[in-house]
Symmetry: C2
Subunit: 210 residues, 2 copies
């Protein structure tokens, strides 16, 4: 664990803070596809991603969901951040996209370090900034792109965070993530295949020209 911490956060934080992180942080290993945080969960600690990727999604009252963005190594969850500050419920769901290793930082320390360590303060603010940018990209995607473009972007993004040009997913799962129906996805996927952008197989899709 301390190697991953050193490797991914070492250049950000000073010695003393890294030591504290190791002391108070709780190491957690999570299997792919399990839910890490759900909507309306109370948040009491903030996760630093040591390895793997996390899918962040939003769900409306009718249970329709939508993928917003992914967290990767070196990221933290800004919603968690602000939930920690304000004792508020989570407004998003976080699901392990791959196997994930986390370092959980207790709420109390998080706030304490903001005053104590300049580098921590910068990290937190930078994280907020990054998450705002992800949100803008998410808005752009759903507001300005047509479904076939969204689909292709989705496939490329997913390939990216999984470090593989083959993604394990069914058409139904894609439809859930993009908040549309399976038939629509099958139709558009077939179109992408005809354009030689992807190869379709049962339970997996290969992205060509990455």
């Amino acid at each position: 664990m301390s190697e991953l911490l050193q490797q991914n956060y070492g250049f950000l934080f000073q010695e003393e803070l890294l030591k504290e992180l190791q002391e108070v942080g709780v190491y957690k290993k999570i299997d792919a596809n399990s839910t890490i945080i759900d909507i309306d969960n109370y948040i009491t600690s903030m996760p630093l991603v040591l390895s793997g990727a996390i899918k962040i999604m939003r769900e409306d009252n009718d249970g329709d969901e939508l993928v917003l963005y992914y967290l990767e190594v070196g990221d933290t969850c800004a919603m968690t951040l602000s939930c920690c500050m304000g004792q508020v419920k989570s407004q998003i769901r976080a699901v392990a996209e791959t196997d994930v290793e986390l370092l959980m930082i207790p709420k109390k320390k998080m706030a304490e370090w903001l005053s104590k360590y300049q580098s921590w303060q910068e990290f937190v603010l930078q994280s907020y900034h990054n998450r705002m940018e992800e949100f803008i990209e998410a808005v752009d995607t759903i507001a300005f792109l047509k479904m076939d473009e969204r689909l292709y972007k989705y496939l490329k993004d997913k390939a990216m965070v999984n470090h593989s040009e083959v993604i394990q997913v069914t058409h139904q799962q894609i439809a859930n993530d993009l908040h549309t129906s399976r038939v629509v996805i099958s139709r558009l996927l077939k179109g992408l295949e005809k354009e030689n952008k992807i190869e379709l197989h049962r339970n997996h899709i290969k992205i060509l020209q990455l």
Copy 2:
């Protein structure tokens, strides 16, 4: 100016910080409908809203735009915040929805106060949190609502920030704000009128049952 500052921010900040705000903050009065910040502008100061409301919008490469949310008294712009930190270009456009009074805080002070004043640090983090919530609401709206629902929400939100049940706007302007076409808006407005939710007039709309 100092009355507005005291009134809207007095309960947030300690005496000393309020004094500094008055000393270094530059008072700015902006007419309704003028652009305060545009996409790709470099940001060198951060605005505290003293009075009025600001419309925050996003535009894609083809020039299609979309309203994201409004800033009101007591708010600050989180994008500006993070742009200030990182010397980055703005990704959003800010347009005065009403006449607006601002207190512009230079970038340098902003960062300095983060370490110096606990209350400033809390304000900045709270602002980020508020803006994240606005983004989530924006995503919900465009992803999960149909156009007639979005339109009705738009009208109510606009009435809210303008403190008036009559809003001065043409169908074309609404279409631009919602990233759709004028004909669609006229059609849906007519529908809302038939449901007795609004009254249509040339250049203005009255919202009933607020």
